[in-house]
Subunit: 335 residues, 2 copies
């Protein structure tokens, strides 16, 4: 309890400081526009794109990265918690892959330092893609089209998991969403957002939302306790950051999710329990800020959040290289 109080005071102090900062430095916003991706190795990105869409990285041959981080749907699956191998119910809401390169770390608890480390996780997770690094590399090595790609990109036709995850991460780094209406406003186009949306942004700042949701991704850059003022009651989603740090103080701390494209990434929170933005804003206000937003305030903040949708992925559906006669076949119904 002492620790919880400690967190609360610290967090409120941080909010107060930030709030003052905003008031004293009107010219500087705490949210920065998303920068377009800089592609330095197009072939690496193309390879990563194929791998991202390839369900042969799963035991079943049915689940790809895109299954749960669907680029047609804001980089998420829009399900409370994801469906894994053998219809396993996932323990936590699938976070969006869009702008994930801007995150301080990957997964809700930050257990992966970067996208490359993250990419190896689901492939080998028995409740997700349920394959193994050995098997997936073996499969890719047996596919002539991939071997040619690896040779072209890495100068060697030897596939290994390090190259696989490097390619996937390189593709994911291109999945940024610039040119949202809010970013246009930040860059000086004052007509890019409506008065209602601007009022929502001002509330977002003045009430303290921005204390955690700031930076280019409007979040993603810190871990914060879910339930600062009031405890958050949830039956799913685990203990959060403490599973990584081993520190009791990190219990129920989660990476602050990005609010970029948030109108597309429902349902919300690490357990997916908030179905709508209205509900999410209401819960955040009460639990994190000790504030009950009025209907009007809630509507304004939600309106602001809708301005954060940027350019969605814009590329051709990748065509995957065919398996060869020696490619190990999927085994979807093996227990």
């Amino acid at each position: 309890m002492k620790k919880r109080l400690g967190m609360t005071v610290m967090a409120l102090a941080a909010i107060a400081t930030l709030g003052a900062g905003v008031l004293n430095a009107k010219d500087r916003e705490l949210i920065d526009p998303i920068k377009p991706a800089k592609v330095t190795d197009a072939a690496l990105v193309e390879l990563g794109k194929k791998l991202y869409f390839d369900p042969r990285l799963s035991k079943s041959g049915f689940i790809s990265c895109n299954s749960c981080h669907n680029l047609s749907m804001g980089g998420t699956d829009n399900i409370k918690t994801s469906i894994g191998h053998n219809w396993t119910k996932g323990p936590i809401n699938a976070p969006t892959v869009l702008n994930s390169s801007l995150n301080v770390a990957q997964f809700w608890d930050g257990r992966a330092a970067d996208l490359k480390e993250q990419a190896g996780g689901p492939i080998a997770n028995p409740g997700e893609m349920a394959s193994s690094h050995t098997l997936s590399v073996h499969i890719l090595q047996s596919i002539p089209g991939y071997v040619a790609d690896f040779k072209k990109v890495f100068g060697s036709d030897k596939v290994d998991i390090d190259k696989v995850t490097k390619a996937i991460a390189a593709f994911e780094e291109t999945l940024v969403t610039p040119n949202s209406r809010f970013d246009k406003w930040l860059k000086g186009d004052k007509k890019a957002i409506t008065e209602q949306e601007l009022a929502g942004y001002n509330l977002f700042k003045s009430t303290g939302c921005i204390a955690c949701h700031n930076g280019p991704a409007v979040g993603g850059n810190t871990f914060q306790k879910m339930g600062i003022v009031e405890p958050y009651k949830s039956t799913t989603g685990g203990d959060g950051r403490s599973a990584v740090t081993g520190k009791d103080a990190d219990r129920f701390n989660y990476k602050v999710p990005t609010l970029r494209n948030v109108e597309l990434t429902y349902p919300y929170f690490h357990d997916g329990e908030a179905a709508t933005l209205k509900e999410a804003v209401d819960v955040m206000g009460r639990l994190q800020l000790g504030r009950k937003f009025t209907e009007d305030e809630n509507a304004k903040i939600v309106a602001f959040l809708h301005t954060l949708t940027g350019d969605q992925p814009n590329f051709k559906l990748p065509i995957l290289p065919a398996s060869s006669d020696i490619t190990p076949r999927p085994s979807p119904f093996d227990k």
Copy 2:
């Protein structure tokens, strides 16, 4: 047994006739080039493309048309039998959607007259997408982006299953694969295929494969018995065409699959039991033609089959319109 013998004699007679036809009319091939799609209503096709990729047509929110007829993988899932809602094991191999507009009817047993009728099947099949026409229409009607699309395409913002399946079918009609190397050869480019591949084509004709696999889709235009000369032993795939016609003579009759893009549509047969083209050609030779192909003959026919791969789908990944606050949410884990 009498009926089986009857089928055999008839089929062999048909092959003999066709074989003679080929020999007597050298200028005319029994396979025609695939024609490019003619799009008359681009907005209808675009709407159908979105619906094809939209997992909200399934109860789980996880399975779309593209899950089992994956356009990155030859329009199939490359699994023996598909995975449906709650990881249900499908009863039959998912046929490719590529060039399916050329089929005499849809599904292996031809129970749907056309693509529009087919499209409504999996949505409401408890072992596939497990939704209902009512629910899926209700969901689409609640999504402002779709309502605008329906209004634009149909002149009315009222969504119904007839419009939904019409749009999906219109998109699927564009999924033809012209410009294969074999089609180039058919059109006069004699260097488009190798001598080995041409030898395979000549074997394909002279041994009778072409009796069933002919027309622009190299199949898809008749129902034939699986196991003419020798019975086919299978534990999956049902009784075939007789389930539709009620005729005992149609037992184990299935729609002849297209051989277009066949190098991409493994595994083969209605039960997916042939893992490779080599195996499929061997089984077909023995069971349908009473002929044991030599290694060399088999390799030549397989080489020919590899020339049938045409232009794969070439479009941008569709971005789906966001659900609204009133859109019914998926229920993946409801029993």
